[in-house]
Symmetry: C2
Subunit: 150 residues, 2 copies
């Protein structure tokens, strides 16, 4: 029972990574895993700048700048100057980008439902509470697990 903590988490996050990879390939748009993460983050932040998203994802900003360019070419995200500070580019999903993100999201949730189908209702609730707890706890721990933006 007293399994190494790290092992437990390592296995879990590896599996979740595979799921993520599968889903973004399955969505028909031939999106890379990195691109999928970008779409996710742009969708979930409020009027994010390039800098903000890059930091959230822990990517070098010059690399990220180019990733944004390629997603714009694919017509999945768009970039508009912030009217209040024209140095800043605000990112958003295009209609097509929203569709792709929604597609991925649905697949992920479907897979996750599948995973939870092996559990009782009580177990499922416990697991959800646990992940919520972990997220909160990791956010508190300033030493690690977060980027400057949290």
């Amino acid at each position: 029972m007293e399994q190494n903590l790290r092992e437990l988490f390592q296995v879990f996050s590896r599996r979740f990574g595979f799921l993520n990879k599968d889903c973004c390939q399955a969505c028909g748009h031939n999106i890379s895993l990195v691109q999928s993460h970008i779409l996710y983050e742009v969708e979930h932040q409020y009027q994010p700048s390039i800098q903000q998203v890059a930091e959230s994802l822990g990517t070098d900003i010059t690399t990220f700048s180019r990733q944004v360019q390629s997603l714009i070419k694919l017509n999945l995200i768009s970039k508009k100057p912030d009217p209040k500070d024209r140095r800043i580019s605000i990112l958003s999903l295009t209609e097509e980008g929203k569709e792709v993100a929604e597609n991925i999201n649905q697949q992920m949730n479907q897979y996750l439902d599948d995973v939870f189908s092996n559990m009782s209702q009580e177990e499922k609730e416990m697991v959800i509470r646990s992940i919520q707890l972990l997220n909160k706890s990791m956010q508190k721990t300033t030493k690690c697990c977060t980027t400057p933006l949290g």
Copy 2:
């Protein structure tokens, strides 16, 4: 409360990824995240072949072959032909590789302890049980989350 399942997991795995990245940089050997994962996997499998580890990590085998080469140059892993089938190369950690892996492992566990320090003993136990449950459940779900080797 009824947060999107995927969101919950996405945030968690992102955070865990940062932790992983931090740890392998902090270990003094300037190991990349990919290299850290390879060390972990080689250590945890029994006499793994190149093919096996590549599959576990979901990496293309040609790419992986080269990653192995660079880790051999760094004197962190070694490669010996399987006496029963000399096509197969069996991977193992060198003494130095073991040290690096142990170093990373300790750091990870230390960070994780830190995360758990924000919880009560009951909460901690619940979280551990939950992750164990998830791992089992993801393994059962053949549709996703695993490579051919599980």
